[in-house]
């Protein structure tokens, strides 16, 4: 069904065929940002210069960034933003010093909306007027704003079951000693009740996290209070501060993309020998990521449309049900096939995945590829013992440097696959490659084209000399991407798509500039070493002819330019409107008609009638 004509991102991929196997794990995240709004937060992060950049500003812009990412990545997650140490109060329990920020048509804890993000972006300007900042914990009063804040957040998170949702509170503050202003028994008491409140929340399955804001001049001291609240000790405590700094950075420049939760996309029975089948889980680790599908709207009301498909008999014009029969014209007759027969034809193998044997890697050519691979990992869910067999084969294949060939009898694309064992790769930031096997879809001989053989040339030697190869090798050493990793580039079209969408949704005035990371490093290429190597390689292959060839190529384009210039000149000699009105276009020659088409940059192909109708359509516009 073609709904999107300039469908640039789509890719034929039949992953959807088995979508029913959703794993039952937390499917969404409920998050409460708990932002300290005490006067201390409004002090500048660096003393002296740049008064604007307060702690509060850092916190707010960080949340704003994170919301903008979230609305695209995981738009079903729900958030609430809650300030404490405020002058005004607004919350479910009507607690003092706690203010939940919200916009119309939205619950306190709900999915973020464009309006929510937009208003939040402008919140800082009006914050003092509307919400206000004041210390909530003062000597002499029993008020405990931190306690209130936790309680309010916990109340917000009462929504949804902890089985299906991750519940989190992210506390952002620069006050490492919230009870510093009170003394004695009162202080101990307040600390105790606050800790108890936090523990209650944690017992309810709510995870409390802290994002401490510190400055170079002032280190956040965890041991004063928060270590206790988060239950951090020893090494974990030492690791905590550096890790949060990194987290803050992460929140700012996360990639905009739709996130996929880890989800098995199907279960596969792998038959190794007769009488021995193990169970595998298949995961789609690498798939082209595309923006969400277009929703068509009525351009007048902006209300969503639904598409209805109807089938019409071409002979009688009658409305018909979706027919079950298909046909192929063959030997002067319409051979009819039933949908069932077609699926029967495709069902050529019993058992989904069947081992056929093993081959050395030299048999797996670079052109043996059709689609993104699928990752296989053993499963004990139904057949106990699968993992053991899988690991034994996995190890043997790695050790003997072989891959397995198997037949994958899927219902739509039954085909040969290569199974490549992948050992686990870990580096400091975690698992880079998970252990398991990658299933690579192999082409049939029908799918392979013999292009290079069609280029057979008997006239001259087609292979480079040793000297030329040596020069090429030198060049290669010069332009070496040492740490290249697959997927180091963000997809510029996708990032642009989301950036533009955000700008339109939030009615931003300026269209964003997205940096295209995929462009070559011009500077690096201009380094003398590289230039030298290039020139030497050029000289060894082209001799002194390179520039001549270049100019010859330019000549061709110059010629093309001349033709179009001429056409534009000639174009002016006709009164096209007049010719069209009096149906005299057909009296012109094809080459005359082409003047018009060239001048208007229209396609030149087709018969005379096609040209004329193209001209007429263009004029009518």
């Amino acid at each position: 069904m073609e709904l999107d004509p300039d469908d640039i991102f789509r890719d034929e991929d039949d992953d959807s065929e088995n979508d029913f196997l959703q794993e039952r794990e937390a499917t969404k995240e409920l998050m409460v940002y708990l932002v300290d709004a005490s006067p201390k937060m409004f002090s500048s992060t660096c003393h002296g210069e740049d008064k604007e950049k307060t702690y509060f500003h850092v916190a707010v812009s960080c949340i704003s960034q994170s919301l903008k990412t979230q609305i695209i990545n995981r738009s079903y997650d729900e958030v609430a933003i809650c300030f404490f140490n405020t002058r005004e109060r607004k919350n479910l329990q009507d607690l003092n010093g706690v203010f939940v920020f919200n916009v119309a048509e939205r619950e306190y804890l709900d999915r973020p909306t464009a309006r929510f993000i937009k208003d939040f972006d402008h919140l800082e300007e009006s914050f003092m007027k509307e919400i206000g900042s004041q210390y909530g914990i003062m000597p002499g009063s029993r008020e405990n704003s931190l306690y209130n804040a936790l309680w309010a957040a916990q109340a917000l998170l009462r929504k949804g079951s902890s089985k299906t949702a991750d519940k989190r509170i992210l506390l952002i503050t620069n006050e490492d000693d919230p009870f510093g202003s009170v003394k004695g028994v009162t202080k101990l008491d307040m600390m105790r009740t606050t800790l108890q409140r936090a523990k209650d929340a944690q017992d309810l399955g709510i995870c409390i996290e802290l994002l401490p804001l510190s400055s170079p001049a002032y280190k956040f001291n965890m041991s004063l209070f928060y270590a206790d609240m988060l239950g951090l000790e020893g090494d974990a405590l030492a690791q905590f501060l550096p890790s949060t700094t990194a987290r803050l950075e992460d929140m700012k420049d996360m990639l905009r993309k739709r996130m996929f939760r880890k989800r098995r996309y199907r279960r596969i029975t792998f038959s190794i020998a007769s009488g021995l089948s193990i169970e595998l889980s298949a995961y789609a680790l690498i798939r082209p990521t595309v923006p969400e599908a277009i929703t068509w709207l009525d351009s007048i009301t902006n209300l969503p449309l639904k598409t209805e498909r109807s089938f019409i008999c071409a002979d009688t014009g009658a409305l018909v049900q979706e027919p079950l029969k298909r046909f192929q014209t063959y030997r002067n007759q319409d051979v009819k096939l039933l949908a069932d027969e077609i699926s029967e034809i495709k069902r050529i193998s019993a058992g989904p995945l069947r081992l056929l044997g093993f081959k050395p890697f030299s048999c797996l050519q670079d052109y043996h590829n059709l689609r993104p691979s699928t990752f296989l990992y053993p499963s004990e869910e139904e057949v106990i013992g699968s993992t053991r067999i899988f690991i034994a084969l996995h190890r043997s294949m790695l050790r003997l440097n072989r891959f397995a060939v198997a037949f994958y009898g899927s219902s739509t694309h039954p085909q040969l696959v290569a199974l490549i064992a992948q050992d686990e790769i870990i580096n400091s930031s975690g698992q880079i490659e998970p252990p398991g096997m990658h299933m690579i879809y192999l082409p049939y001989s029908n799918d392979i084209r013999h292009i290079e053989e069609a280029q057979m040339d008997t006239n001259f030697s087609t292979h480079a000399t040793d000297d030329q190869i040596k020069k090429a090798a030198t060049l290669m050493k010069r332009i070496d991407l040492r740490d290249f990793s697959v997927c180091q580039f963000a997809n510029p079209a996708l990032q642009n798509h989301y950036a533009v969408l955000q700008a339109l949704a939030l009615e931003e005035d300026e269209m964003p500039e997205v940096k295209d990371e995929t462009l070559p490093d011009e500077e690096g290429m201009a380094r003398p070493g590289v230039v030298n190597a290039l020139e030497e390689f050029k000289l060894s292959v082209y001799g002194d002819n390179y520039d001549k060839e270049e100019s010859r190529a330019n000549e061709a384009s110059r010629k093309r330019k001349a033709i179009s210039d001429n056409a534009i000149k000639e174009y002016a000699n006709y009164n096209w409107q007049d010719l069209a009105d009096n149906e005299k276009l057909k009296d012109l020659t094809v080459s005359e008609l082409k003047y018009y088409l060239t001048a208007h940059n229209l396609p030149l192909s087709g018969k005379k009638e096609a040209l004329i109708s193209r001209i007429l359509t263009h004029m009518r516009k």
Partner: protein, 712 residues
């Protein structure tokens, strides 16, 4: 259309040594013609046989010689008759001379086309090249070949030789074979000729290109190493899936008398407002909306056009890197090939130098490609060398698309290293696995590599075209089974299995599999269990179930599963926590039996179905529910007789299956005689079902029976 018209002359060796492979040859040639009929019906095809008793060719008449070369069909546009012709190739009686056949084929092409149609003429020789080539009257055989090749080059002909050897030609004369191979080699050195050796019938199927697709470049222009050095290249598809034919939807609304009815179905789209379904919106009145959070942002095409990402056309080098930096499973799509601009010597050498240097140093190149102006995205990919071992074929590069950061899903998986030893193989098991991986070798050194993608045909397509041909003659024909030769693709090679029987047996013995009893409870299994059973009724038996029984009865059973339906049924029946279990278990068992019978292929499930039926009968007697069983058996027999499964009824009768009688259960209205005779005298046969409706999906349990359940 006619621009890409191809002229093909098939040169088929039908001599005595070829007889054993002729049946396969007939199949593959008819498929070739069939595809031409569908995809390129203006192509012209001629057929020449060699090794026949008789002689029939113009050259014999004109100049003499060329005996035993028989023109079965002159070059003309493909038609249905040709399918029949190649399906019944005559068996020859003498040793054929393939050189003679090539000359006859060339002569036919020259006479037909003269100097026109260059580059679109193809000769396809299929032989085992075991028979000696006659000594020429003058000069040597080599001279002859060189005369022929220069003629071929001059007329722009291509030659494809498929040499069938290996196991198929054990007792051949080595000397003749070597000489013939040398001669054929001369062809590929001197002109556009391609020789493929195949050693088994499956590869023969794959070696013959049954569909000729005219290659189209997806890019012509510069490969920019930098702004200082651009190499002229052309980019083609190297792999591209040959899709299952798109069949048109059929409408039978046209009156049968209407001769020129197209029977086509048009699809019409209408857009209606979700809130007001009565309101139809014209296609051009729509506007695209993109989801942003819970809301949809409308964006007009013009607006979008103004701001969307618009990269410049061009193919640019980002740099070289070690091949080991890119793992094989990151390749995303079908593969392209970069060749130097044809005829451009310097470009050919530049590509060759880079390609060879890359291979030597184990490097690959990373490129950023925009194939067309106006393309909406860039492609990042990897260029790998394709170094040619033939002098006259230029070197080239393969190009594979790599993922972007967004395309990689970073799921974490438990490391095998941390697994408990229970999940890890023992030393002995590891050794068995090592042996299996070593011995189940598809690419032994001395033999042709088995299942090489380049020589493995798509079995689905073969089956489709065979079925199409069959249906064109017999509209009621059933889908034929997969061709024997092609079963080597979908299942392991029996020869390889028998050679390595001990290794495989060792492996199987070493490991033990058990069904997980906990999974029985999962409701999620239902749709999947259905599907798998559908795909492979056998796979149920393949699991080892021996010692899983007691585990299972211990767990509370909630549905009749695939593996142990009888036990499940009995388990459910004996549950006393809810009286509904009786009905549930009976219903579940009925569905199970139904599925077994319906999915059975040549009766392979009958025994299992019988076991279940016996259990069901016993259960119904025990629970005093005779009507449930009797109605079901009636229904089942009726269904079987209506669906070409009446052998199941006979099978039941032979095993002494009867209805439940009054004596067994008081509620039954069936007498002993009736019960026994029920299966012997055939029940009423359902008439109205045509072959078509018989294949339609059935409701899971007949409606009448469902209402019976409700009534209770």
């Amino acid at each position: 259309m006619a621009r890409n018209k191809e002229a093909l002359v098939l040169l088929l060796d039908v001599g005595p040594t070829m007889h054993n492979i002729l049946p396969e040859l007939e199949k593959v040639c008819s498929m070739l013609v069939q595809k031409k009929l569908i995809y390129s019906k203006y192509d012209e095809v001629g057929v020449v046989l060699l090794g026949t008793e008789e002689t029939n060719n113009e050259l014999t008449r004109e100049v003499g010689g060329y005996e035993h070369v028989f023109v079965l069909r002159n070059i003309k546009v493909v038609d249905g008759d040709l399918v029949d012709v190649v399906q019944e190739l005559p068996r020859g009686t003498v040793a054929g001379d393939f050189l003679d056949a090539i000359v006859v084929g060339m002569d036919m092409l020259i006479k037909k086309y003269g100097p026109t149609n260059k580059g679109k003429q193809r000769l396809c020789l299929i032989t085992n090249a075991l028979c000696p080539i006659k000594e020429p009257h003058e000069g040597t055989k080599d001279d002859q070949v060189s005369i022929i090749t220069s003629q071929m080059t001059a007329h722009g002909m291509k030659l494809e030789c498929i040499i069938v050897r290996g196991v198929l030609s054990d007792d051949a004369n080595k000397k003749i074979m070597d000489e013939n191979d040398r001669l054929l080699d001369l062809f590929s050195k001197n002109t556009w000729a391609r020789t493929v050796h195949v050693e088994n019938l499956t590869s023969l199927f794959g070696a013959i290109r049954t569909r000729n697709v005219a290659p189209v470049t997806i890019f012509r222009g510069d490969l920019e190493l930098s702004s200082r050095l651009r190499i002229k290249v052309w980019v083609y598809k190297k792999t591209s899936e040959e899709k299952f034919p798109t069949l048109k939807k059929y409408s039978d609304k046209a009156p049968p008398t209407e001769k020129f009815a197209t029977h086509e179905v048009k699809v019409d789209y209408e857009y209606r407002s979700v809130e007001d379904p009565g309101k139809v919106v014209l296609p051009e009145q729509r506007i695209k909306g993109y989801r942003y959070g819970p809301h949809v942002v409308p964006v007009s095409s013009a607006e979008w056009e103004a701001v969307k990402f618009k990269p410049e056309k061009g193919v640019k080098l980002l740099g070289f890197t070690d091949a080991s930096n890119i793992l094989r499973h990151y390749y995303m799509k079908d593969v392209n090939i970069f060749i130097a601009e044809p005829g451009n010597t310097n470009a050919v050498l530049a590509v060759s130098a880079l390609s060879r240097a890359m291979k030597e140093m184990n490097k690959v190149a990373i490129l950023r490609c925009v194939w067309r102006q106006g393309q909406g995205n860039v492609v990042i990919g990897i260029l790998t060398p394709n170094v040619s071992d033939k002098d006259n074929i230029p070197d080239s590069f393969y190009f594979n698309v790599l993922p972007f950061a967004e395309d990689v899903r970073e799921f974490q998986f438990p490391s095998f290293r941390n697994f408990p030893s229970l999940l890890l193989p023992t030393e002995q098991q590891q050794e068995a696995a090592d042996n299996l991986v070593k011995m189940l070798d598809l690419a032994p050194i001395s033999k042709e590599e088995m299942l090489q993608p380049d020589l493995t045909p798509n079995p689905v397509l073969e089956r489709f075209y065979r079925f199409l041909e069959l249906k064109s003659k017999h509209p009621d024909a059933a889908v034929p089974p997969l061709d024997e030769t092609l079963k080597r693709i979908t299942g392991a090679d029996p020869e390889l299995l028998s050679q390595n029987k001990s290794v495989i047996d060792d492996f199987v013995k070493c490991f033990e599999l058990k069904e997980n009893p906990k999974m029985k409870k999962s409701a999620k299994r239902l749709p999947r269990a259905r599907e798998e059973n559908f795909e492979d009724p056998h796979n149920v038996k393949r699991l080892k179930t021996s010692d899983s029984m007691e585990n299972m009865s211990a767990a509370m059973v909630e549905k009749v599963g695939d593996l142990t339906p009888v036990q499940d049924f009995e388990g459910m029946l004996s549950r006393r926590d809810d009286p509904d279990w009786v009905i549930k278990s009976i219903k579940g068992m009925k569905n199970k039996i139904y599925d077994l019978v319906e999915d059975s292929y040549e009766g392979d499930n009958y025994n299992k179905a019988l076991e279940c039926l016996v259990a069901l009968r016993k259960g119904c007697v025990l629970e005093q529910e005779p009507k449930q069983f009797n109605d079901f058996l009636h229904y089942l027999c009726k269904f079987c007789r209506g669906h070409d499964l009446s052998d199941f009824c006979d099978f039941l009768a032979s095993k002494g299956m009867t209805l439940i009688t009054k004596t067994e259960a008081a509620d039954s209205e069936v007498t002993g005689d009736e019960a026994r005779s029920f299966l012997v005298i055939k029940g009423p046969v359902v008439e109205e079902k045509s072959l078509n409706s018989a294949r339609e999906k059935r409701p899971h349990v007949p409606v009448a029976m469902q209402s019976h359940f409700c009534a209770r």
